[in-house]
């Protein structure tokens, strides 16, 4: 059916989701690294693949797929390998519910804090003209607004407080969920675990006020188990810099 190419940044959040799903399925793919902090995703070469300029994207033969969660669902259905969706319809519903909750409610709060504390400052060395030129190349107006806020540190205190509230509430709900069953949404490891792990694997670092072995024993048990998975270790070994460093540091504690 043709070659598979994944256009991705680091194994983290949206880019990490299809990377890990492909790894769990045992599907070989050509990796095309997009340096998000250099704005590779808004360069003509990439816009020719995905005119929206969002990452990740995957090509499979002539087909082009975007949106990390939807790509994962495609990967699970289109390729052989272990099933990453449960068979029971109610479990399948629950997997989808958790992925939407992360993608649209909890995830944007994680990323607002991440952009504010890491991505924005990492672009601070660029001049205002350089930053404006980078913004001007972004195809989607919504993404332009989001990047502007990150680049020029325009997040309001109220917005950041709301994101922190959601993170703390979301962690509480995840803890409750993982008290009901061994994995997120079902009794077996699924796309929901891949999705949620990509946004929560760093919780053990610097979040002791909301996530710790004492406060959130179920999340801790689940993280430890997912960290040990061979596909997870292979995926994070493909990363560079702080993402893999952070993973390795937590892994040492769990070992």
């Amino acid at each position: 059916m043709g070659e598979i190419t994944l256009y991705h940044w680091e194994p983290n959040a949206n880019s990490g989701k299809p990377m890990l799903a492909l790894e769990e399925k045992g599907v070989a793919y050509a990796s095309h690294y997009i340096n998000m902090l250099q704005f590779d995703q808004h360069q003509p070469e990439y816009l020719a693949v995905n005119p929206q300029g969002t990452i990740p994207a995957m090509t499979h033969g002539d087909l082009v797929l975007t949106e990390s969660t939807a790509i994962m669902e495609y990967v699970d259905e289109a390729f052989d390998g272990p099933a990453l969706m449960p068979a029971d319809p109610q479990d399948r519903w629950r997997v989808r519910w958790w992925m939407k909750f992360m993608d649209q409610w909890l995830g944007p709060s994680f990323s607002m804090i991440g952009w504010c504390t890491f991505i924005g400052p990492s672009l601070a060395s660029k001049t205002e003209e350089e930053r404006e030129a980078m913004l001007a190349r972004i195809p989607l107006p919504e993404r332009r607004v989001a990047w502007r806020k990150a680049m020029f540190a325009e997040f309001s205190e109220a917005e950041l407080a709301e994101s922190r509230r959601r993170i703390s509430k979301g962690v509480e709900l995840l803890e409750e969920e993982l008290g009901k069953r061994p994995f997120v949404a079902s009794n077996a490891y699924s796309l929901a675990d891949i999705n949620i792990f990509n946004s929560t694997y760093m919780l053990p670092v610097g979040n002791a006020d909301i996530c710790s072995p004492e406060l959130t024993p179920n999340i801790w048990r689940w993280l430890r188990e997912v960290y040990q998975r061979p596909a997870v270790q292979r995926t994070w070994a493909k990363g560079t810099g702080r993402f893999t460093d952070r993973f390795t540091a937590v892994m040492r504690d769990f070992a």
Binding site: E67, I71, E77, R92, R96, W97, F101, W105, L173
Partner: protein
């Protein structure tokens, strides 16, 4: 199947799409009408796991209760019906066609439905719902805004633009003469129709001169499943029934 009850509001938005999907599936599930605008969704009997009801991204949509677990999000409930029925044709079997359908539904739930819900609240009188029964702080805030009639002009303008863009998107999608949005009939037709139907009277100009959109709306509306869903209306004007929906994107 075990004990299952579908609690739904007036057949508009997510309640309309889910009621029609249930009809399409042929599953025998009891339907009970509740008043979403009175906050009745927050005190359903027999719910032992309320997480998905309390924190639904969709806001005030229908709730399917199975063995005490409250299930929310219209698109996913429709997928549940399709899969519990062993595949009733609401989702394409081909993985890529399925990806296309899911991407369409995401566009509808992330762009069209927040906009339509916001304009709908603006055009309707707030229900006198007791806010202390609602677990989600941000949903409570959308209720308060509605009850105190706090509407943001920029969000209203953005919502009108999004409804018009979506009407155009549907017209363009149907441009090749296809009968249904994804080629064959699917959840995408139900979800899109259910949200855009009420915009025909609120945002009439977004529909003018769009013959393919108009004909498609007629085809969806005349499906027996949609007729059966609309017949559940107790007010006779389901397109005027609103309750707080999904929030408008906080950023990016």
């Amino acid at each position: 199947m075990s004990e299952a009850i579908l609690y739904h509001g007036e057949p508009n938005g997510p309640s309309l799409s889910v009621l029609a999907a249930l009809e399409e599936s042929g599953l025998d599930i009891e339907c009970r009408a509740i008043d979403l605008a009175a906050g009745e969704r927050h005190g359903l009997p027999g719910v032992t796991d309320s997480m998905a009801m309390d924190y639904a991204v969709e806001g005030e949509g229908p709730v399917l209760v199975i063995d005490g677990e409250a299930m929310s999000e219209a698109v996913f409930i429709a997928q549940y019906f399709d899969e519990a029925a062993g595949g009733c044709g609401l989702q394409p079997a081909d993985p890529y066609a399925r990806w296309q359908m899911l991407m369409w539904c995401r566009q509808a739930t992330e762009r069209l439905s927040p906009a339509a819900a916001y304009l709908g609240l603006h055009a309707s009188t707030a229900g006198d719902a007791p806010l202390d029964t609602m677990a989600s702080e941000d949903l409570r805030e959308r209720w308060t805004d509605w009850q105190q009639r706090r509407f943001d002009e920029a969000k209203l303008a953005d919502s009108r633009a999004k409804v018009a863009q979506f009407a155009q998107r549907i017209e363009d999608q149907l441009d090749d003469g296809r009968e249904w949005l994804m080629g064959s009939f699917s959840i995408a037709d139900l979800e899109t129709f259910a949200w855009i139907r009420s915009m025909r009277h609120l945002e009439a100009e977004a529909f003018s001169g769009k013959g393919a959109l108009d004909a498609w709306m007629g085809r969806v509306e005349s499906r027996p499943s949609v007729q059966a869903a609309l017949a559940r209306s107790t007010t006779g004007e389901p397109e005027r029934a609103f309750a707080p929906g999904p929030e408008i994107n906080r950023w990016g």
